[in-house]
Symmetry: C2
Subunit: 365 residues, 2 copies
């Protein structure tokens, strides 16, 4: 593995869309007791369901801490690779490499990771194990890596259509806990140079109470070039209403890198999902303080789906909109099977199915 200091776009490497063909998917076996209730027992079962579906059409590589290897190995299928790797938490989207492709080969971008805000408003300290994962994953895959640790970015804060358009949120990328010394224009430029984009569409905000500073992958995702799914509510009393409304206006008034007007598919949100006292009881404190309080609203959204080679795997919450979300997504992915996985036990950790996955694009060599 070479550790590169060049720029992907200049090297002819760009980030493919998630709906392009994959080699596989990276995930992390959950373990953090202040993120996942009851020693991550329920989360592991939910992760295993997601892993099982993804592994039917692409190679899943699951990172497990030394202490968790045996548990992961016995819980997961023979077709899944479990590799030893220390981590602070389990959000592969944000700590695994963002892969860029030349069309034939791939390389991984090793962004800086600071637990969604570092000492300003990050969610845990320290985060060094997470920050070191991207490079090690490239090494394990025998693929070169771009060293971009000087720039703080999580994979969940960006989406691309693979045709030059990048989607992100100001709430996250311009937050003080990321790259506060850089202007919006400078940040946009880095996104273009590293992901190979020509146009960045900036949404203002994401999902209400999303502790990632409102990652785009919880509010809006490309379903194909020129088409996006947007998390939506018609309830004007919900603080999410104005946030989604603002996104819709921006999207409807934007054209993508190819000059197309975007087609927006509204995905209704579930009714507010709040954590129970019993669930909070199952969480360890962090530095003597609880990480969640009973009644706290979690950032539930159907947009947080993962697109594998054969499936679209969509979070379900036991809500009346669960089925509706699947029905809306089905015609948008005519060649894939749209399936739901009950994901409350993932959501308790703060994110969802998209957040716990990171696709590895297909490569020839």
């Amino acid at each position: 593995m070479r550790i590169l200091s060049t720029v992907p776009q200049e090297d002819g490497y760009t980030m493919p869309a998630e709906f392009s063909k994959h080699y596989g998917c990276i995930m992390i076996f959950p373990h953090r007791r202040d993120s996942w209730q009851n020693g991550a027992y329920a989360a592991r079962k939910a992760f295993a369901q997601v892993i099982d579906i993804i592994s039917r059409s692409e190679k899943v590589i699951v990172c497990a801490r030394y202490d968790d290897y045996d548990s992961a190995r016995s819980m997961l299928g023979d077709n899944v690779r479990v590799i030893e790797m220390e981590s602070d938490d389990s959000w592969a989207r944000d700590v695994a490499p963002t892969f860029v492709s030349s069309g034939k080969d791939i390389r991984g971008i090793d962004w800086g990771f600071n637990a969604w805000g570092g000492l300003y408003d990050g969610l845990y300290f320290p985060w060094d194990k997470d920050n070191k994962m991207a490079r090690k994953l490239c090494d394990m895959l025998d693929k070169d890596t771009y060293n971009k640790r000087s720039f703080i970015l999580e994979g969940g804060s960006i989406h691309t259509d693979g045709e030059g358009t990048i989607l992100t949120t100001e709430a996250c990328l311009l937050s003080k806990g990321r790259n506060p010394h850089m202007s919006k224009e400078e940040i946009e430029n880095e996104l273009k140079r590293y992901l190979g984009g020509e146009k960045v569409i900036w949404l203002k905000s994401g999902i209400y109470n999303d502790e990632t500073n409102e990652h785009v992958d919880n509010i809006c995702a490309f379903t194909s070039p020129g088409e996006v799914a947007l998390a939506w509510t018609d309830d004007k009393s919900d603080p999410q209403y104005k946030m989604s409304q603002s996104c819709l206006e921006i999207l409807e008034n934007s054209t993508d890198a190819k000059g197309r007007k975007l087609r927006v598919h509204k995905l209704p949100l579930p009714k507010p999902v709040t954590i129970t006292a019993e669930e909070c009881d199952g969480l360890d404190d962090m530095n003597g303080e609880p990480t969640r309080t009973p009644g706290e609203r979690l950032a539930a959204s159907y947009v947080n789906f993962y697109i594998s080679n054969a499936h679209v795997i969509v979070p379900q919450f036991g809500d009346e909109n669960d089925g509706k979300a699947l029905e809306i997504l089905r015609p948008l992915f005519p060649t894939k099977e749209v399936v739901g996985v009950y994901a409350r036990d993932i959501l308790i950790g703060g994110g969802n199915i998209h957040c716990i996955t990171q696709q590895i694009p297909y490569f020839e060599n």
Copy 2:
């Protein structure tokens, strides 16, 4: 990766000779402060030299603990893969899988490992990290593994010619710290079933003061089918004299699995190599006791070489026989380059170049 409970020979898998074509080689970045002087600093440099030579003709995979990854990565070449894996010490020969091949694909055997003797006369406790490596290495390589943890065996205690002949020592395999509940015949049978052999040649002993209970890979190695190199001394006052003499008699009176008489090439030993007080000072105690004492004789032998696709890498000790050993080996490997590496800093840990390597046979898929 499937964890198999079947038997390689019955599945059509046998262990190829080390001089057959390799896919690559597994090694472990040294770290143990009671095995390697000065925080393993000198050993790392010696390992890196070996890795560099091997990596010119095959893929080297180096296991590094979480804490050592960055050091390993910066010390080793771009063409070397560094993967995170915890270990108790750094003897890949004894803790990495023994690979068997069908001719097209390979599988790894996961023997039980107990630090060369367990609670009877093992060299450290605990040894659980080492014992877990073989399975994880198969998982990382995406190759099926045979679960044979119920049988204690180290890779350094066996050699094969790839044509049905297995070489081992009674001193090691019949020692009370290995499989004392099994008879010699039962042990021989397991070797044949797992390595795919038809004949086991039992040497009585290995190298004097070899703390592995005298592994065969320090005293005798196949250089081609029907030919072996044997560590030798003409000094009758050396306790090694009778040990090597006994091996020679057995080898000269044996035929291999194909019925050939063995041709024995004597490799002279260096003069006794003893550890200095200064070197001992650089070693941490283990449980409050020193691991070596000044003047202790180390198990130095030129037979502890590694055969890569392009090289034979031979330990050197700054002894007048260093060059002679290379000269004797050169005509035995006409298609390879025979090179020496100064290996005192590896020897201090107890073994040598062969002990720190484990070949991965070539495979098609």
